[in-house]
């Protein structure tokens, strides 16, 4: 047994924490994401009412909740797209508002409804994106090769994006966000619009990348199967508040449920509609 201690709470900007082993398990883990009391309002609508969570290095963390719960808002704040009204969000110790430029170098964000430049080929799109992260031409080449592999687009990578199906486009975008091997990948509904086979492929790839390259992943999803398969830990978010948090096993045990869907129903209390 070990207890996770969030060192960044003790040393806010300290990103070099030595991992100590105790009986083969890490005694302390370095947190990559620290969110504390985030509040965000859109006019009269309260999107986030003060959420707090931490994500540790190499972890796949799932944010689940009904439509309008505040998942995308949280992801967008961490991706430096939105500014919280109050509260704090740190990525690797950097403040997402005050040090947004530094945060952008560490993250890769995949929005739920994302597009790619229609008039570029898949290859040109990947090349365009790789140039922001790679430090050499060789690195660019490697990134693109990996992205082609992840996307499974094969020769179609040379075709214009406008000729791609919705699924192909999504695979290209997932590949784009993983090929750069970010410190933190923020994936909003990564498998949305994909058929069963491709969704499975993408989930396996995400898991593999997190494990092989130590990429920390923050996923939002509606798909409980996906969350159970992918995530080391999950947080259930409802009406702008985190209502439950833990590993899928812990949550199932705690709520005496056979799967996350049941947990979800018990926590949220059935179908929830919010304007």
């Amino acid at each position: 047994m070990y207890r996770k201690i969030n060192m960044s709470q003790l040393f806010p900007n300290n990103t070099n924490i030595i991992v100590m082993l105790f009986r083969g398990n890490p005694l302390v883990e370095r947190s990559i994401v620290d969110v504390k009391n985030l509040i965000k309002n859109y006019g009269p609508i309260k999107a986030l009412r003060g959420i707090s969570f931490h994500i540790f290095e190499g972890e796949v963390f799932g944010l689940i909740g009904p439509n309008g719960a505040g998942k995308t808002t949280t992801l967008r704040i961490l991706a430096t797209l939105l500014k919280p009204d109050s509260g704090k969000a740190l990525v690797c110790g950097y403040n997402v508002v005050k040090e947004a430029d530094k945060v952008r170098e560490l993250i890769s964000y995949l929005p739920e409804e994302a597009g790619a430049y229609r008039n570029l080929s898949g290859y040109e799109y990947l090349l365009f994106m790789a140039r922001f992260y790679a430090k050499s031409e060789d690195e660019i080449k490697n990134m693109i090769e990996e992205a082609i592999e992840i996307s499974g687009l094969g020769d179609r990578i040379q075709d214009k994006v406008k000729s791609y199906s919705k699924g192909m486009k999504r695979r290209l975008l997932v590949a784009r966000s993983l090929m750069v091997k970010p410190k933190l990948a923020i994936l909003d509904e990564p498998t949305s619009g994909l058929d069963v086979t491709h969704a499975l492929h993408v989930r396996r790839i995400i898991k593999k990348y997190a494990k092989d390259y130590g990429i920390t992943v923050l996923v939002s999803s509606h798909n409980m199967l996906e969350v159970e398969f992918l995530c080391d830990r999950v947080a259930l978010i409802n009406k702008g508040l985190i209502v439950a948090e833990g590993t899928p096993q812990e949550l199932k045990r705690e709520y005496n449920a056979s799967n996350l869907e049941e947990v979800f129903e018990k926590v949220v209390g059935g179908v929830s509609f919010e304007v």
Binding site: L81, R104, Y109, G115
Partner: protein
Amino acid sequence: MKSKFLNIVIKELKDLLRDPRILVMSVIIPVIMFIGLGAMFRVTVKKGIEEVRRIEVSVVLVDLDKGDYAEAFKKFIKMVNASYVEASSLNEAMKIALVKGVLSVIVIPEGFSKNISNMKPGVLKIYHLISEVSFTATGLRGKVEALVNGFSRTLSQSIALAHGITNLNFIVKPVVSDASIMFRGRSIPLQLWGSLTGSFMATAWIPLIVVIFAASMAATSIGVEKEEKTLEVLLTLPISRFKLALSKFIGTMIIAIIQSIAYVAGYTYYMYSIFKSFESEASGALFSPFQALRWLALSISDLALIGLAIFLTILLGASLGLLLGSFGTDVRSSTSMVQFVAMPAFIIGMILAYMDLSIMPETTRYALALLPFSSPIMSIKSIFINEPILGWVSCLASTCYTIAAIYGMSRMFSSERLLIGRIKTRRKTLLAFRR
């Protein structure tokens, strides 16, 4: 390794140039339209002129005078290889004209010869029948008029000779004017001056066209990012928002300049075609802006002023387009914002082009120079009225507006408003977002 900045500029160029809507609507259509129009005009006019030259003048003549000068006119018609058919009345003449397809009827009224003998003008009544509104018909009518004028001149000559005058031209116009414009100590013939200023003012409109192109291109570019949902990812890339805005601005400006070159080339070809068609007929000289430059002997600083004014106006258009386009939520709403640039640019251009600056008080002149989009026309006018400082002031104002627009644009790019397209009003907040 390409810089991140250059990377976005190249992406912008590729994406926009490959967009068939942009390519067809703004580059191919103006070129084809102008070249097509120009070619059509040229062919029509050329054919018309040939037709007019080829067709002999034929008229229906009604001689109610039966006098000597009426006879002389008939002989003159035959002498100049024209032909006529005689009719006894105007009604009959009209019928004959319709049957034979003749387009003009000349009536020699009673007393025609008597008037001329008494040194009074003899009036020939000409009726033209309209068969078609065409260049050939106009040309043919001109030929009939020329026939009458020719006869009149021949008569003048014979009357002058009878009075022992051999130099008819001198009698008709004993005094002629030789006017010229003094411009910076150089004398430029008056008729040349008209063409020179005309060519220059026409050139001054070109930057305004470019402004509209630059603004709409910039607005389209940001509108496309929003519509195609590529903006979110773009804003999370590791590049500063200012560089992002600037690279987008430069990319769209390059396209706008390409577009403008296509437009201006097409327009120039069209105008050239029109003038070329009339070249042999036109008496006045036509100048290209380059010839005009040689005649005006503009200094390097004058040229620098005009060049700078045009460049700054394009910059202002593109930056305002990007700024205003950012408020839209898709291509349509973004491009519709361009009207806020296009309309003032057009109105200010119109007012300044036709306004007489020299009669205005100094303060008004400077106030006008401070208007946005005034610099191209202001710089040219300031050279003509020999007050180049006005042009430089206008350029300085343009620079300030551009800096303000670029600052506003970078602020917009750094704020979340760009993404959620939020327009705040006093009473309510309109939202375009998803939680």
